[in-house]
């Protein structure tokens, strides 16, 4: 019976949270909510990458997933919500 260390336990918890946040990002009502949850998902996967010793990938995922992609999504949502007469 292998002993599970605290680091491994937190790793498994983060993996579980990763799956939950992915499902929430796809299915939560409200687009902005989903985008913020997506950036939480990115941060969690950054931690997983760092635990799997992929430091370069972790850095790229942190910067792109949590920074750049969120900015793009929020901009696009802003561009597809404010319509001219407030209708639709």
């Amino acid at each position: 019976m292998p002993v599970i260390t605290g680091l491994e336990l937190s790793y498994f918890l983060i993996l579980g949270a990763l799956v939950v946040t992915a499902a929430a990002a796809v299915h939560m009502p409200g687009d902005l909510t989903a985008v913020i949850i997506l950036s939480v998902f990115s941060v969690l996967s950054t931690v997983v990458f760092a635990l799997l010793q992929a430091v370069d990938v972790a850095m790229a995922e942190a910067v792109i997933g949590a920074g750049f992609m969120t900015a793009l999504f929020v901009t696009a949502i802003g561009k597809t919500r404010r319509s001219a007469g407030g209708k639709r």
């Binding site: 993996l15 992915a22 687009d31 793009l72």
Partner: protein, 115 residues
């Protein structure tokens, strides 16, 4: 550790694919695409993992390293994913400007009316 990451990557991939197949809002489809892409990166990183290996930065006294080649591929995939996402969102904005909605089915209906 590796197996758990594989399971998580597979589940996240399934969630993303399911979202892409069933959601109607283009923004949600873009989110699903980036979730799927992230799961592929996770799979690559998990394949590269070696138990007991350290990060692939060579320094004295270390002999076990994780595989650096999938990391390079994953980096490329992440940056290209950002480019793909930008194009998808640009198409979404263009679609909204043209049809006034981001609902895919509504756009299908409007294109059918136009014929």
């Amino acid at each position: 550790m590796q197996n758990a990451a594989f399971v998580a990557a597979a589940l996240v991939f399934a969630i993303g694919l399911h979202g892409m197949l069933t959601r109607r809002n283009m923004i949600r489809i873009c989110i699903s695409i980036s979730v799927m892409e992230s799961s592929l990166v996770m799979a690559l990183v998990a394949v590269a993992y070696v138990p007991g290996g350290s990060a692939p930065i060579v320094s004295d006294g270390q002999t076990m390293f994780v595989d650096p080649l999938p990391h390079a591929l994953a980096l490329t995939a992440i940056v290209i994913g950002a480019g793909i996402l930008a194009i998808a969102l640009a198409l979404t904005v263009a679609m909204y400007r043209h049809y006034g909605t981001t609902d895919v089915l509504a756009v299908f209906g409007k294109t059918r009316e136009g014929q």
